[in-house]
Symmetry: C2
Subunit: 245 residues, 2 copies
DNA sequence: GATAGTTGTCTAGATTAATAGACAATGTGC
DNA sequence: GCACATTGTCTATTAATCTAGACAACTATC
């Protein structure tokens, strides 16, 4: 199973970048779980059919990301950096979902605004067009590392002041509780994946070509009345999702 | 909300490629749903802060993908190419999931093999290490367009000959039925996203830097006994997932 | 038909990515 | 200590990408 141009020229993605992406998959497949070492750069160069310098550029990029560490005279070590798995179920909560996979999880409010509901958001929240909604933008951190950024919409009449509560409590679940909603359920979650745009790259410190997992979800109270609809983007190299019925 | 460096130099992704990815998101956000036309190339060039020729390279790439169509003297039109949404629930089925979103859906068997269960697959199927399993590789097509490729594992004792049944019936659901299993349920689905590797690019005709949505799932019979575990990769620009509880 | 706005094509030059080779620096094992 | 394998650094060359400008070809509108 050797050889072969796993890389393509003139594709708009630099060879070293393609190789970096390839090595990331290689590591994720657990191909060097035993020694914890990547094959030598010269071997990789032969495998990918490129010059050693090109592989070095790929490794430097991955080292900058913190995924590997090159040690002169020894080799290139894979740094254990497991992807977090976020459970998605009827009771999806960010902090609780991170659970004991990390020491800390928090969200930071970026922006909030109030305005009339329109289009898709109005339909998902089952509001008449023009009814007031509160929009909240927020970023999620795990152990001080940005892993997500979200846009949430709430019906303004029922949840007036929720932005302040989110800041005060550092959690949407607790903000809901403070406003009298002690439990809520996830009605549906749409999942897609695409390249990060400029804003997402900035917020989550991603490089061009990086991937975001985008979820669009609706939460309802126990009577099935929509209380929140959200779009969340996760840095795909840091988070995966586990859907359980 | 104008201007500036939505693109990054020295990132390993060519500017025209970053711009193509940006325009794809731009279109997906419905930014030009009214006229069906993209802004002129000169405008886009100014917006992204690059030369018009660079934008032209991006548009040529997207035209090659079939997402846009440039007409001399007129403009660049967005070709309606909606993403399919595949429902993921307790009763997830590929063909039925595509449903009326397309004229036809089919799978093609690529490879099958039998061997001893090991590691993760053995654990997920609750088999003793060494018990026989059947491995099946298959590609999914919608309207003759490749949208997915999968790797499935079945306990060999219970489903001997399933590969032949899949070929005969063109469906895993019908293959199960032919072997006496008329109903089964999805127990869990893990979702992650990453860059396509060389094989996936070839099977689904993707370019370097393209994204795959990878699902890892386990199906059980109605008694909760595992009957199948699978890894499926979807071309992220053609498929999104809808999880419902 | 004239005009303005848009895409298509060509040439040339500057910048960046990739290859090639030589050799230094450092860790491992004998 | 010594040989060996591996990563780190340097120079030089070639190939690809991006910029710049000029102008042709085409469409829609007046």
């Amino acid at each position: 199973m050797a050889e072969r141009k796993a890389v393509e020229r003139h594709s708009g993605v630099a060879l070293w970048r393609q190789i970096a992406d390839g090595i990331r998959v290689f590591i994720a497949d657990g191909a060097c779980r035993d020694s914890g070492l990547l094959p030598p750069a010269a071997d990789l160069a032969e495998r990918f059919g490129v010059n050693r310098h090109t592989v070095r550029a790929a490794l430097a990029f991955l080292a900058d990301e913190g995924l590997v560490e090159s040690i002169q005279g020894y080799g290139t070590r894979v740094v254990d950096k497991r992807q977090l798995t976020l459970p998605i179920s009827r009771r999806t909560r960010f902090s609780a979902g991170v659970g004991d996979q990390a020491a800390s999880a928090s969200i930071q409010l970026l922006r909030s605004a109030e305005g009339p509901a329109a289009g898709e958001v109005a339909a998902l929240l089952r509001l008449a067009p023009g009814e007031a909604i509160i929009e909240v933008e927020e970023a999620g951190y795990v152990d001080s590392r940005p892993v997500s950024c979200s846009q949430h919409f709430f019906p303004a009449r029922r949840f007036a002041g929720i932005a302040a509560e989110i800041v005060a409590t550092g959690s949407i679940t607790r903000a809901f509780a403070a406003l009298g909603l002690t439990d809520y359920l996830r009605a549906s979650t749409d999942v897609s994946a695409r390249h990060a745009d400029a804003r997402e790259r900035e917020l989550m410190r991603l490089s061009p070509g990086a991937i975001v997992l985008e979820t669009r979800s609706v939460n309802t109270d126990l009577d099935g009345v929509p209380v929140q609809c959200s779009t969340t983007r996760f840095a795909a190299d840091r988070i995966s999702l586990r859907m359980t019925p």
